[in-house]
């Protein structure tokens, strides 16, 4: 989503995530409940957007991964 400027089509997401359609929807539902992702229609097409909260979470997660890797944890 970040690579695609913060929004992505469902089919692209399905392809990139390498998940089944059902599994992807489960995760999306979870992410939308947590307000990390939102669903919106643009020009009649459905897109998924990374919210500010989602963006911050991703940033924090990347920081955690870098910190963990740097200390070999």
């Amino acid at each position: 989503m970040q690579d695609k400027g913060g929004k992505i089509k469902p089919t692209h997401l399905l392809y990139k995530s390498n998940l089944s359609y059902q599994r992807m929807n489960e995760y999306l539902k979870d992410l939308m409940e947590k307000e990390f992702v939102m669903e919106k229609e643009e020009k009649g097409k459905k897109f998924y957007f990374l919210t500010d909260k989602g963006s911050m979470f991703l940033q924090e997660y990347n920081r955690l991964v870098e910190f963990t890797e740097s200390f070999g944890l």
Binding site: Q59, N62, R63, L64, E66, F67, T68, E69, S70, F71, G72, L73
Partner: protein, 227 residues
């Protein structure tokens, strides 16, 4: 009554070493708090142990800085004494001795925690045995040679640095390289501290090398937050 205190530092360096120790304390505590925050988030004990080890490092540096400041700015006479006499740290005032003892205990606790974490040692009896051995040799050693604690620290840090080297060899990231560099430099500082009882210029060099080590760690930490 004249208090004769031991200062390994040349007179022009008095106080600067405390500043360096306090800078190191600040850096260590930053990493301690962040690691603890991660522990609270993900509830994995490895973050707690890392946080604990950096807490011990910060506290050890605070103890040494505090004892230096008490020594340098106390009302007694302060003499910079040459290397043969400086071996016998027990001649310093009680507070200085307590400060240095606290430094030894806390620093060894930090290294033991890091070693246990890196080598994934789960046997608490083994960890406590290693700690007792390291502490006993260092603490009793100060009655014989001030350098012994730093030699023990050097050996322990060699193991820790080797682990970080293996981590860097595997991950090959700039972040893992920075941590390796910081600990490698800190290891070198221990050797210089060990030599400082021979010539006090080594003490200045040791403090500067230690400062470089903590600057490296701080830069690494700041870079995590810049993205």
């Amino acid at each position: 009554m004249i208090n004769v205190n031991i200062a390994l530092s040349p007179s022009w360096f008095l106080g600067y070493d405390s500043l360096i120790e306090l800078f190191g304390m600040f850096t260590a505590l930053l990493i301690c708090f962040y690691s603890y925050r991660l522990f609270r988030m993900v509830k994995e004990k490895k973050y707690l142990y890392l946080s604990l080890s950096f807490f011990f490092i910060g506290a050890a540096l605070a103890a040494r800085a505090g004892s230096y400041l008490l020594m340098y700015f106390s009302w007694g006479h302060i003499r910079t004494i040459g290397s043969p006499i400086a071996k016998n740290i027990i001649q310093s005032s009680t507070l200085n001795f307590l400060g240095f003892s606290a430094h030894i205990i806390l620093m060894l606790a930090a290294f033991m925690t890091l070693i246990a974490l890196n080598m994934k040692v789960k046997d608490k009896k083994l960890i406590s045995l290693l700690f007792i051995l390291a502490f006993t040799s260092s603490f009793l050693g100060i009655y014989v040679a001030y350098a012994l604690f730093f030699i023990v620290s050097f050996i322990l840090l060699l193991y820790i640095t080797h682990y970080f080297y293996q981590n860097y060899a595997e991950k090959k990231t700039a972040q893992s390289r920075n941590v390796l560099l910081a600990f490698a430099i800190l290891t070198g500082a221990q050797l210089l501290f060990a030599l400082s009882s021979v010539w006090n210029t080594f003490y200045v060099a040791a403090e500067i090398v230690q400062l470089i080590s903590f600057i490296t760690l701080l830069i690494h930490f700041i870079r995590l937050f810049r993205k």
